[in-house]
Amino acid sequence: MIIGTENYLAVSLLLFVIGAVGVLARRNLLVVLMSVELMLNGANLAFAAFARARGVLAGDVIVFFVIAVAAAEAAVGLAIVVALFRKRGTVNLDRFTSLHQ
């Protein structure tokens, strides 16, 4: 069986949408963080698939950079979550409401 670009694109879109829904619907901060990573990896898969289909290396290069950036972003995100957890003892988004007036 030959797996075409459309199939890869379908999976990447699925990953992206699952991630987006996760960010918007889930209340656990760690799950939300993972959902953002899922979105980035959806984009990564699309880049890799297109790079292969078109024979352009640029797409693969972007994947490397996105991996590195995602790590930096995850580190900062986790640091923020840990700082908040140490103060409040929860990672539930609905409990962070001191900005609503």
């Binding site: 984009a43 289909a53 700082a83």
Partner: protein, 494 residues
């Protein structure tokens, strides 16, 4: 023989970019040795970068750096200059606030430099990869900085909210970039041709959505009031100005990409479909910003909604109508917006006090300040008049340029809405002024008299009035130069 890989011109043009990134590294490192002079070191790098950026304002032709990934031209020089000015203001007004809390650490200033280097790259690239990297480089330090005030719960929440929505929007932009790459087979936005229309359209709109998030345009604005409110005020001021300059600067470049109709990316953003959506976005953004600002009693939240409204006015300049994108109007407006917003936040910093670690910035606390502190009162009045677009201030002239440009491009109905919005905004901009002068209380208000705060607000007042007298006295020194640079920066776009 091949031409040399690196020429002297290229090195000279690359120096401002390198200085900012190197400055961020050095200043952050100084933090590890507990240096108390972070602001000074950072300002040194910033001024040096400014000095090296200045000659680029008169470049004949854009210089391609790093294999064409970054373009140094008059446009990037002018936008870069504004970004550095915004950064300089942040460096000047931060130390008094940080000293109050005993957290005057060099890392704070290093992060500002890192963020600036990302912004300057962001407005100087037509490469999708560099666009994404620059976006993250400008955003990630800002996530950290908005949570810098550890004593205040709201600061941490602001960081969380900014991080979640910021990384969400970055991911959306990245997916859009992937689709654009798939449609056209290149990551050079300026060289895109042909391509599958469905993929390209979806990609272009996803990228645009990422930008709309960053500039806090309706319906992607909901994070802005909370983040602006919770972040330390100098960072709020820096974010409100520099992120807007960076996003609109990058959009200007993208909207006027070379190739016109042959370039699918530029074609979609300036084409029919976008022409149906963008005006609505502009109208919704300015109206919602102004209407919500009406009911705010906390001045930081009011200025946050006002910044949303200003994004709406600026969007007006991006709608091509019967002509092209109004680069001149947007650039001048951004300059005025930078001065008046920074100025207003500087006064907020001078007047803010803390209650159990929380910053208190309610308008009602400012009663009688106008008489007790004449300079602060006058300065705040100038900033708010300028934000409302009342002459003789740069805010008025910026609005005049932007709106008259839009009328010339056949967007009169939109301009009518924008003018009505401006009239509405006068109400909430004048309310703090009324509290300043018309009410009085016996409770003494503590005012931060730090020299740097006074210098920053005085500079903003002088510049705003100076450049606001433009239509009457066009011969004031410096004024023609600014207009010349705005014009030549706009002409540098293809």
């Amino acid at each position: 023989m091949n031409p040399p890989l690196v020429t002297g011109d290229m090195l000279r043009a690359a120096i401002p970019f390198i200085l900012l990134a190197a400055g961020g590294t050095v200043v952050s490192l100084a933090g590890a040795w507990r240096s108390k002079r972070g602001a000074l070191f950072a300002a040194l790098f910033l001024v040096l970068a400014f000095w090296k950026l200045f000659p680029l304002l008169d470049l004949e032709k854009g210089i391609e750096l790093w294999d064409g990934a970054v373009v140094a031209d008059r446009m990037s020089a002018f936008l870069g200059g504004m970004l550095l000015l915004s950064g300089l203001f942040a460096l000047i007004v931060s130390p008094p606030v940080l000293r109050r809390e005993g957290r005057n650490r060099a890392e704070y200033y290093g992060l500002i430099l890192f963020s600036l280097s990302g912004m300057v790259l962001f407005v100087s690239t037509t490469n999708l990869l560099v666009l994404f990297l620059a976006l993250e480089l400008m955003s990630i330090p800002l996530y950290v900085l908005s949570g810098y005030n550890r004593g205040d719960d709201r600061s941490g929440e602001a960081a969380l909210k900014y991080f979640l929505l910021g990384s969400f929007s970055s991911a959306i932009l990245l997916y859009g970039a992937a689709l654009l790459f798939g449609a056209t087979g290149t990551i050079n936005m300026a060289a895109m041709t042909g391509g599958d229309p469905l993929l390209a359209t979806a990609g272009a709109f996803l990228v645009l959505t990422g930008f709309l998030f960053k500039m806090a345009a309706v319906p992607f604005h909901m994070w802005a009031p909370d983040v602006y409110d919770g972040a330390p005020t100098p960072i709020t001021s820096f974010m409100a100005t520099s992120v807007k300059i960076a996003t609109f600067g990058a959009l200007l470049r993208i909207f006027s990409l070379a190739g016109g109709a042959a370039n699918p990316f530029a074609h979609i953003l300036t084409g029919e479909n976008a022409a149906k959506i963008l005006p609505w976005l502009a109208v919704m953004t300015m109206t919602l910003g102004n209407v919500c600002a009406l009911t705010q009693t906390n001045i930081k939240r009011m200025l946050a909604y006002s910044s949303i409204a200003h994004a709406g006015y600026l969007l007006l300049g991006l709608i091509p109508g019967s002509g092209a994108v109004d680069a001149k109007g947007i650039l001048y407006y951004l300059f005025a917006y930078l001065l008046m917003t920074t100025g207003a936040f500087t006064v907020v910093i001078a007047l803010s006090t803390r209650d159990k670690g929380r910053e208190v910035t309610g308008v009602e606390r400012y009663a009688g300040i106008g008489f007790r502190r004449p300079f602060l009162g006058i300065a705040m009045a100038v900033f708010l008049f300028s934000l409302a677009g009342i002459p003789p201030t740069a805010g008025f002239f910026g609005k005049y340029l932007l709106f008259s440009g839009a009328v010339h491009r056949g967007l009169t109905p939109l301009v009518v809405v924008a003018v009505l919005n401006s009239a509405l905004s006068v109400y909430y901009y004048l309310r703090p002024v009324v509290v300043f002068y018309m009410r009085d209380t016996d409770t003494p208000v503590r005012v931060d008299d730090a020299l740097s705060l006074r210098v920053a607000s005085l500079a903003a007042v002088v510049l705003l009035i100076w450049f606001g007298c433009l239509p009457n006295i066009g011969s004031l020194p410096g004024v023609p130069a600014l207009l010349h640079w705005v014009g030549s920066a706009a002409a540098a776009l293809p």
